[in-house]
């Protein structure tokens, strides 16, 4: 089932030097008081890739996500998305450009039904003032149902999102991120608190979407998940980039093993 634009062909997952990065951060820095949460991190995701971002707790993964998705103002560096400088953009602006994300602590609209959650998360790029004064159109609803079906939570469409289990909320949040048909999805610990069979579902869905041309950036503690899906992995430690490479290279890297696996 084609959730994205079917005509978009999957692109090479290798780091072709002639290719423009889809999302790029150059010397991104973010300080909380004296603490450098993210320090001079260079970062690039190319179209069609699945990139992993790992690191110990407090290493700055989520802060980097917040910087890239513009929820946090950065203290230094530059962020470009689709070749445009978005360093000063607001979150809704990068969202309308085609960047979606999920959150470590799931953010869904708890007192709205699952379906209404989905309907309100459509692509706002071309929504005129007059559109906003009307109920959601049927096309939005059919896309919402399609995605709920894809994520296997269609039977919950009329439940309040607050009534869902943690795992189901994660799936719903992925649905909300997919609604606007984004070009890149930033998933922050999409598998935490999710049971193993559901993790397989999520993995499967990410693969399908990637084949349809969607780019992914994943924060994960689940190393198997990263190793199975990602073509490249960044490792953060103390807000700095510790290593970068294929999952196999990372798993063999002494420094990473020291910092992350504590061996």
């Amino acid at each position: 089932m084609a959730i994205g634009n079917a005509d978009r062909v999957p692109q090479s997952t290798s780091m072709a030097s002639d290719q423009q990065p889809l999302l790029e951060g150059r010397t991104v820095s973010k300080y909380f008081g004296g603490l450098a949460a993210v320090n001079n991190v260079d970062f690039a995701v190319y179209p069609g890739e699945i990139v992993g971002l790992i690191g110990p707790n407090g290493s700055g993964k989520t802060t980097l996500f917040d910087c890239l998705s513009r929820l946090q103002k950065i203290d230094g560096g530059k962020i470009t998305f689709k070749g445009q400088d978005v360093t000063r953009a607001r979150p809704y602006q990068v969202a309308r450009m085609g960047l979606s994300r999920t959150f470590q602590s799931v953010r869904v609209y708890r007192k709205m039904t699952v379906l209404r959650n989905m309907l309100i998360s459509h692509q706002w790029r071309d929504t005129s003032f007059l559109h906003m004064l009307r109920p959601s159109p049927a096309s939005t609803a059919s896309r919402a149902h399609q995605l709920l079906d894809f994520l296997q939570i269609e039977h919950l469409a009329h439940e309040d999102a607050g009534h869902l289990s943690g795992g189901q909320r994660r799936l719903l949040e992925i649905g909300l991120a997919l609604m606007p048909d984004p070009e890149i999805l930033l998933l922050d610990e999409a598998t935490s608190g999710v049971n193993p069979t559901l993790i397989e579902t999520i993995k499967d869905r990410i693969r399908t979407l990637n084949q349809q041309g969607k780019t992914f950036l994943l924060i994960e503690h689940n190393i198997n998940f990263i190793a199975d899906l990602c073509s490249r992995v960044y490792v953060l430690n103390y807000g700095e980039k510790l290593a970068e490479g294929t999952p196999q290279e990372i798993l063999r890297n002494e420094a990473v093993i020291d910092a992350y696996f504590g061996a």
Partner: protein, 352 residues
């Protein structure tokens, strides 16, 4: 990969439904065209009411109730739907009232010629909306209690500013408006304003704009990250709510023929709006009107029976609402499992 949901989950859901019979279908009906049709029917009946040969006092009471319904519905737009609990909403009422008074008296600003009522009424609303824009830009950045306190501060500050701006506002002495007694006209005007405002809220609630406000209430960061220009939507909701509160303030000044800072910039008026919305059901279309009527009747009952204690009783009522039915009348009826009163009612229902 075909992982259906665990089967027992579904079983639980249905079990829960059976234990707490829900009025959700009725709710969705009322939120739809049926609700609007019933509302228009009610407006028609209210429009015919004066023809039944009622006293002028009844008309006054009618227009007062319409004022309360309109205020509660307006407050609900920003406080209930958008989730920005505005403890200073009466400031827009006051601004509207003063703009009306200043424009129609012409003095003390020496506007000449003086404005007629029909020109001044929309001007009251527009001034309040403009004021909401100026105040909202900084205050709507604040979250939760900080916004509430900032708005309360705005109300108190405006009262004092109006008091000291004697050349324009008449200061503490207040302003006298031309006395025009037209009970039937007041009744119909307020009926029209109320009809318009509640219908508008009904419309907003169905629209994507209204849904985006609820999304902002439920998770503002999430809403912003999913493409909603939260600042714009909040300001728009705030300005709409302020506009009609200003219009009502203007009307009130006209009907009351006298205003002073302590009469229009009153905390109690905000508390009333909050209480009515909460009693009826925050964020619902029909809750605040219902709550407004209920509180008005209750106030009169308490006032005539326990005159000295009526404020205390009202305060106690607010505490009880928050404790036992935080979702209000409509919310409690809609999902009984969510409130203790609802659970109590459901238990009685089962035992019967």
């Amino acid at each position: 990969m075909t992982n259906g949901p665990p089967a027992d989950k579904n079983g639980n859901e249905t079990g829960k439904k059976a234990r707490f019979p829900s009025l959700a279908p009725v709710h969705s009906l009322l939120a739809g065209w049926t609700g609007l049709a019933l509302w228009l029917l009610l407006l028609l009946l209210l429009a015919l009411y004066p023809y039944t040969g009622v006293s002028s006092l009844a008309l006054l009471v009618g227009s007062q109730i319409f004022v309360l319904v309109t205020l509660a519905s307006n407050w609900n737009l920003i406080g209930g739907m958008t989730g920005y609990v505005d403890f200073g909403h009466a400031v827009f009422f006051g601004v509207g009232a003063y703009i009306m008074a200043i424009l129609v008296t012409g003095a003390p600003l020496l506007i000449s010629p003086q404005w007629g009522f029909w020109q001044a009424l929309p001007a009251s609303g527009a001034a309040a909306a403009l004021f909401a824009l100026l105040i909202g830009l900084p205050t709507l950045r604040l979250k939760g209690p900080y916004f509430s306190i900032a708005m309360l501060g705005t109300l108190v500050a405006m009262r004092e500013i109006v008091r000291v701006s004697r050349p324009i506002t008449g200061g503490g002495i207040g302003l006298n408006l031309p006395p025009v007694l037209n009970r039937i006209g007041d009744y119909y005007l307020m009926l029209a304003i109320m009809g318009l405002v509640v219908s508008l809220i009904w419309w907003i609630q169905r629209s994507e704009f209204g849904q985006s406000l609820i999304a902002i209430r439920e998770d503002e960061v999430g809403a912003e990250m999913r493409g909603i220009n939260t600042t714009l939507h909040k300001i728009a909701a705030f300005m709409i709510a302020a506009f009609f509160t200003g219009v009502v303030g203007g009307f009130w000044a006209w009907q009351n023929t006298f205003i002073d800072p302590d009469g229009v910039f009153v905390e109690t008026r905000t508390v009333e709006m909050v209480m009515m919305s909460m009693l009826g059901g925050l964020g619902t279309v029909w809750g605040p009107p219902l709550g407004a009527v209920a509180i008005y009747l209750l106030q009169n009952l308490l006032w005539s029976n326990l005159f000295e204690w009526h404020l205390l009783a009202l305060g106690l009522l607010l505490v009880l609402i928050v404790l036992f039915m935080p979702e209000g009348i409509l919310g409690t009826l809609g999902d009984r499992s969510s409130t203790s009163l609802g659970r109590l009612l459901a238990r009685f229902g089962r035992n019967r």
